[in-house]
Subunit: 336 residues, 2 copies
């Protein structure tokens, strides 16, 4: 049976292995620093579909398909699939993965969905509830803008603090067959609310959630930042990353030299017009599959923390003047 | 380690025990056949809040609070909370449970969220990932109508096939301390799509999903309907229940005499104007906590199946002319 370190850090007794992974992106992701690492890239934002929502479904479909192919696993042999996205009622997941006919557990945790899904998928392998499990999450710039802010046709201006929702999907397949990468620990986040109400400043809203999870992890697990090659946050962007490092510093945790943010890795802020950086449920997921897992496979990283962050707002809650509550979930992944 | 029966039926090796549960409802639920069994009922649909969404959050807050009190468990001792609802980005869960500061895993599976959450919460206890876990889900007639159909102020007519979204929340707390009720098996559903596009006929859309899960359960688990006191579906309503029993019959499974539907138990269709019956993520959850679990506790039931059903549509997917995909998740619960 797995151990619980401190109050809530899960240490997997039989850590699940990463059998395969895939990343799919759009034109902005292609032009970004990780463009060469994606498994599949589309120049057409509609990906031949009739709507942005269907295009996003197609990203998930492709990501899961490629991850399964690379894992040499047939859909019928996957015991459970954890998937989610940012859209109302998670429809890009539903329509993206339904044809695979894999038992489906829908996860909603905004941009942190990939980390929460990885914890669930790992727990299902470790606990013996599935022999193989899979994760896929996505976001699409155009479907997210229409959902959360304005239809693109309005041409609304985006303030400098805003982030660019990645048109991307990442998928990971986990199982019991030993490979060079395994998921060793997990920590489920608690909701934080520091009174931020500006949906164009998600980084500031999410930074306290990332800090809470990271601080709790180091306090309860007995680990220290020096044990890790890198500590990744999901999509705090430029502003959120600065705040995150500062909050950690104030609490006595210096991780500035270890920290990278997926929202800053996916785009080049100097040459791409993404303001504070990337975001979206497909941002950290695709960076995980396009950059982090390959470096664990090659031996460049031996042990990393991946802490995805999410803003649990809805257009309705924003219009009703509510704060933006946020959350961050964490997994520890090791190369062998 | 837990066993997988057939391809995907989870048999918990150390079945988690039900430490406590609670049901909260509104005026229609009070006037229904189970009214006397609810822990808390509100005559005011706004529950003193400023919006339907906040009122729904309050239902979750009360349900979780009462379930924890009855379980004699403090929020800080709950390892993980699985929660979800029908609203965009699951905001009634986020705002309902954030003050408890319990590690939070958001689940989206429409009206089947309670069953999927119970599977997750059980797996986390059985696998040793938490000592105590909790589940809470909700729906609210007014927030759901505004979200999915029309604002109530329009006075839109509802066709006879439509169902009444329950204003209700149900919560269950699970742990390792032996009690008289335990969760013994789980089965995660696969998405079904039989071409239904009418969002006022959810029962017809969900019946094939319920049948698929029930048929798969009996085919893979080695169990037969005679082993169960009752087999509950989530919220198929009158039309969906007839279809469900008929599909099972065609596939050689006669469960007519064992079957009850939570959407038909919660209201009196003769005296209450609910058309085809109740529905919503709070419907099956509150019936579970107000009727099924008490009867397992009293010994009236010894072994039941609880198969909650969900329609994975969004207003966007409906407007775009997509079909309504559906899913059903199942748990087996035993009295001792």
């Amino acid at each position: 049976m797995s151990k619980i370190l401190g109050n809530s850090v899960i240490e997997f007794k039989n850590p699940p292995f990463v059998l395969g992974y895939a990343s799919v992106g759009g034109i902005m992701e292609k032009e970004g620093p990780l463009g060469g690492n994606f498994d599949l890239l589309f120049d057409d934002p509609l990906i031949g579909q009739k709507s942005w929502e269907k295009a996003e479904s197609q990203l998930q479909k492709n990501a899961l398909e490629i991850a399964l192919e690379k894992s040499k696993i047939a859909p019928k042999d996957v015991g459970v699939l954890f998937a989610g996205d940012l859209l109302n009622q998670c429809i890009s997941s539903t329509f993206g993965i339904m044809d695979f006919q894999i038992p489906f557990a829908g996860i909603y945790s905004a941009c942190s969905t990939v980390a929460l899904s990885l914890i669930m998928a790992s727990a299902f392998i470790d606990g013996g509830f599935a022999d193989t499990s899979a994760v896929v999450t996505s976001s699409h710039y155009c479907s997210a803008e229409r959902q959360y802010r304005f239809p693109l046709e309005y041409g609304a201006l985006r303030p400098p603090s805003s982030q660019w929702t990645a048109t991307a999907s990442g998928s990971v397949v986990l199982g019991k067959t030993p490979t060079k990468i395994k998921v060793t620990k997990g920590l489920i986040g608690k909701i934080q609310d520091f009174g931020i109400t500006d949906q164009n400043n998600m980084g500031a809203a999410m930074a306290p959630a990332a800090a809470d999870t990271i601080l709790r992890f180091f306090s309860e697990s007995g680990e220290v930042p020096e044990n890790y090659d890198r500590i990744f946050t999901g999509d705090l962007g430029f502003i959120g990353s600065e705040l995150f490092v500062e909050i950690c510093q104030r609490e006595g945790l210096n991780i500035k030299n270890k920290h990278s943010d997926c929202g800053l890795l996916i785009y080049n802020r100097r040459s791409q017009d993404v303001h504070s950086g990337g975001s979206g449920a497909g941002c950290s997921a695709s960076v995980l599959a396009a950059d982090i897992l390959p470096k664990l496979l090659s031996g460049q990283y031996r042990k990393i923390l991946f802490c995805a962050t999410g803003a649990l707002l809805s257009p309705t809650s924003v219009l009703q003047g509510e704060n933006i509550p946020t959350i961050a979930h964490l997994v520890e992944i090791c190369g062998i």
